[in-house]
């Protein structure tokens, strides 16, 4: 027995930290038990939620006070449903996590409306641009942008929200890995910025690495935290459709961004539209949906100060000549292979690649491996 008497928070941290602990098992252990009671019952091997005494040995060799100190040192707060700090939107939710780890300050969720902006990891330039624009404009309008910090749409939405500047509402992320394991690695910087301005939440213990299953599970938290879920791009059967489904089960409105019918990355979202989800063209469409849900409680006060996007068609000064214009006309918003453009324009490959390169340098096209898309 330790000299210090561990409190609820320390015991909850110790429970989360047990080897082999999953959110489902944890919910069973804390169902009807205070964390201190659950902890001593697990140690004693008498917990009815742990009939196989799976955790008894591990619990006996663990010191809740030390675990709690480790979490505090890592800047991670352990939130419990009946304590302050735990997001109110999750209280009473059927799938609410029994314990939630947080780095950063999630209290912004209590004051502002929240919108989930989610989508595929293999986003097209179009999808990434829409997600980034939505993130920026929603954050500027006083909305908390909630997403999962994954590659593609998630990252673009978070980056957009952060780019809205100092006066804007900070974003919140819900991740599947431990809070000290940024995943994917290339989003580490973004991850840190979200944690410092807003909050990064996870129901996993520190050190939990990415593994199949944790990401669909965290999608239910994203949905439960949000007033509206916007799916920007998703394949048919893509992971972000879990979020949409979880939202639908909680009667949270799901919106979708329409995409090209030829783009595979938009098959899922276009199907959502067919199923009756409202389409999203810009942040105003989302804000309208939010105001319907919130009906006056905590709506953004003023009409948002919209940052104007780039004009759709190039101005009269650009493109420089007829060849450039014909190339620009032949490129779609979605990635278009150079071969397709070649067939459309009837130029020689040398003339086409010259004009294409100039358009890329003018910022009118984005280039990839063998394809172009309108910027």
């Amino acid at each position: 027995m330790t000299a210090e008497h561990p409190d609820d928070q320390a015991c909850a941290a110790a429970l989360v930290d047990l080897l082999g602990m999953t959110p489902v098992r944890l919910a069973k252990l804390l169902d009807g038990f205070r964390p201190t009671m659950a902890w001593s019952a697990v140690r004693a091997g008498t917990h009815p939620g742990d009939p196989g005494r799976r955790f008894a040995a591990a619990a006996r060799s663990s010191d809740p006070v030390a675990v709690a100190r480790r979490y505090a040192d890592a800047g991670v707060a352990v939130l419990l449903p009946d304590r302050s700090g735990y997001p109110a939107a999750l209280v009473g939710d059927p799938g609410a996590p029994a314990v939630l780890c947080s780095s950063g300050d999630p209290s912004v969720l209590e004051a502002r409306p929240a919108v989930a902006v989610v989508g595929t990891r293999s986003a097209t330039p179009y999808g990434a641009k829409v997600a980034s624009d939505l993130g920026r404009e929603l954050a500027a309008a006083g909305v908390v942008v909630v997403s999962g910090l994954a590659r593609g749409i998630d990252a673009a939405a978070h980056a957009g929200a952060l780019s809205a500047g100092n006066g804007a509402t900070p974003p919140v992320a819900v991740v599947g890995t431990g809070l000290d394991v940024p995943y994917p690695k290339e989003n580490r910087v973004l991850w840190d910025r979200v944690a410092t301005t807003g909050a990064v939440l996870s129901e996993a213990a520190l050190g939990t690495v990415a593994r199949p299953g944790v990401f669909p599970a965290r999608n239910r938290i994203i949905a439960a935290l949000s007033d509206v879920v916007v799916v920007v791009e998703s394949h048919r059967g893509g992971g972000s459709l879990y979020t949409a489904e979880a939202a639908a089960r909680r009667s949270i409105p799901v919106c979708a961004v329409p995409g090209s019918v030829y783009s595979r990355a938009s098959t899922g979202t276009n199907e959502l539209l067919v199923d009756g989800c409202s389409p999203v063209r810009d942040a105003d469409d989302v804000l309208a949906a939010v105001s319907l849900v919130r009906q006056g409680r905590g709506m953004p006060q003023a009409s948002p100060a919209r940052t104007p996007g780039r004009p759709r068609a190039p101005g009269p000064a650009t493109p420089a000549d007829r060849v450039q214009r014909s190339v620009w006309e032949a490129v779609d918003d979605t990635p278009t292979t150079v071969e397709t453009v070649l067939l459309r324009t009837d130029l020689s490959l040398a003339a086409l690649t010259t004009a294409g390169g100039e358009l890329v340098e003018l910022g009118l096209l984005t280039a990839g491996a063998g394809w172009w898309a309108r910027a």
């Binding site: 990434a128 595979r264 990635p335 010259t354 990839g368 491996a369």
Partner: protein, 511 residues
């Protein structure tokens, strides 16, 4: 009595002279063979005995010892049969040593005493140019490619009759057929014409530039896009081999015992497409006792096509890197080491990712992990060897149905030949071989082109190493366009596009 007869065996792509020494003495009748013979050589004792008897010649009922000198080198193949038979005849006194003076023998014996040709006759003849070489009738034309004095005979009895002067040496009919052997070696797709390729202007252009400048080519695209169809059309675009290369190619194919359409010089560039199950030894060579050349040697002067590049074992692919750089293969084994030329155009095809649809954002179904695992099979240095990497997409239905057949191989081959002539004026066979130091002189850039390259270098889209490759590629593009000495912006822009990027293989995410 002792006799010594000249012959030769193959090691790698070279003939090695072998002296067959036969000693006949009193003792228990029998034949002992020494001097590291392999199984086929050892078995020749039974063939020689049967051949002598069926030719009506005496088999000495005495002790026969055959030594193959130099005795430290392994001897492979059946080409020593005739030399052993002649040695026995001289040693047992049937023939005088003068009858075989200055002669060398290469050929396999049938049990009925007939002479058969052996693979690698040209190479063997090369090693015996200072002799008058006696070969089987079907091999005479090939033996004469070496340039030495050669005669032939249909059977062992005829050889004996001609050596003793009872009959004159005479050529079999049909030896001077001029059409024999002008076909290409290993031309696996005769009649494969570029007009079979519908649409796909980018891939066609890439093929033409690759053939003109000798730039290694990587085709990346989904299954069914026609990558294999395109690659197999490459052989038809390459010009005929120059005389020296034709000799080298013929030697290699002869030494490897590869079937050739004729017995003459190979003048069309070979096209080799080993399956991805190929072993490193089969690719590089040196597997057997004769250290047979591998697929890359057989592709010398022509093209090596690796279909499904991602399926080849990484170790096999990395074995390609040294020959790609040096143009020769050095194979060292416990038995010895051989060197042979391997200057070829490498063409490879692969899917962008396991599902095959990757490359364009939003179209791939693979997880990022699966994609990077797939890409990791190809080492960066190998990918770097490909000057051209282009995406090949499935032709549209409209292309397949409505379009007229594309331009034929003959028209493209004519442009390729013109471009290669311009490279030859610079002193290299193809632009890909231009030394970096001569680029400023051979491929000077105009101001716009220089600016474009500088911008690409500054932004990190182009590495210093890639710069030389792009300049060579731009030189080829300019040659094809009939441009003058200076390389202009459109040529560089096209070269930058054709060079493609690592992202074609690695897939990409938009973040």
């Amino acid at each position: 009595m002792i006799a010594s007869i000249s012959s030769a065996v193959i090691l790698g792509v070279d003939g090695r002279p072998v002296s067959v020494e036969v000693h006949v003495s009193n003792g228990l009748p029998g034949l002992t063979m020494v001097g590291l013979p392999d199984a086929a050589v050892r078995e020749s004792r039974d063939r020689v005995r049967a051949a002598l008897v069926s030719s009506g010649l005496p088999w000495p009922r005495r002790r026969i010892t055959v030594n193959l000198a130099p005795s430290g080198m392994r001897k492979a193949g059946a080409g020593l049969d005739v030399a052993i038979a002649m040695g026995i005849l001289v040693a047992s006194g049937v023939l005088t040593p003068e009858a075989v003076a200055g002669l060398a023998f290469v050929g396999e014996l049938g049990l009925d005493g007939s002479l058969r040709g052996v693979p690698g006759t040209m190479v063997l003849a090369d090693a015996l140019v200072d002799h008058r070489l006696v070969v089987a009738d079907p091999s005479l034309r090939e033996a004469r490619l070496a340039g030495g004095s050669c005669v032939s005979a249909p059977s062992l009895a005829a050889v004996v009759a001609r050596c003793t002067g009872r009959r004159p040496w005479s050529d079999p009919p049909g030896t001077e057929d001029p059409d024999d052997g002008v076909l290409g070696a290993g031309e696996e797709h005769p009649g494969a014409d570029l007009s079979d390729v519908l649409g796909q202007p980018v891939a066609r252009r890439a093929l033409e530039v690759a053939a003109s400048g000798g730039h290694h080519l990587l085709l990346v695209g989904p299954p069914g896009a026609g990558k294999t169809l395109l690659a197999t059309r490459l052989a038809g675009l390459l010009p005929d081999l120059d005389p020296q290369t034709a000799r080298d190619v013929t030697r290699i194919h002869s030494a490897a015992g590869e079937p050739r359409p004729g017995t003459g010089l190979v003048v069309r560039p070979p096209f080799r497409s080993p399956h991805h199950g190929v072993s490193a030894m089969a690719l590089i060579g040196g597997g057997s006792a004769a250290m047979r050349p591998g697929e890359i040697g057989l592709a010398h002067g022509g093209a090596l096509f690796l279909d499904e590049l991602g399926e080849f074992p990484a170790a096999v692919l990395d074995a390609l890197r040294q020959p790609l750089e040096d143009g020769v293969v050095r194979v060292s084994r416990a038995r010895g080491s051989i060197t042979y030329p391997a200057r070829f155009l490498l063409v490879a095809a692969m899917n962008p990712c396991p599902c095959g649809d990757g490359g364009i954002p939003g179209s791939c179904r693979c997880s990022p992990a699966a994609r990077s695992r797939y890409a990791r099979r190809l080492s960066g240095p190998l990918l770097d060897r490909f000057d051209i990497a282009v995406r090949v997409d499935r032709p549209t239905t409209r292309d397949l149905i409505a379009r007229q057949p594309g331009e034929g191989s003959a028209a493209v081959a004519a442009r390729v030949l013109t471009a290669r002539r311009r490279a030859a004026e610079r002193g290299v066979a193809v632009n890909a071989e231009l030394p970096a130091a001569t680029l400023d002189q051979a491929a000077p850039l105009d101001d716009g082109a220089r600016d474009l390259l500088v911008r690409h270098l500054r932004s990190g889209r182009l590495t210093a190493r890639g710069l030389h490759r792009v300049r060579r590629l731009a030189r080829t593009v300019a040659d094809l366009d009939g441009a003058g000495a200076t390389v202009a912006v459109p040529h560089v822009a096209e070269a930058l596009f054709l060079r493609g990027s690592r992202a074609l293989v690695l897939g990409e995410d938009v973040r």
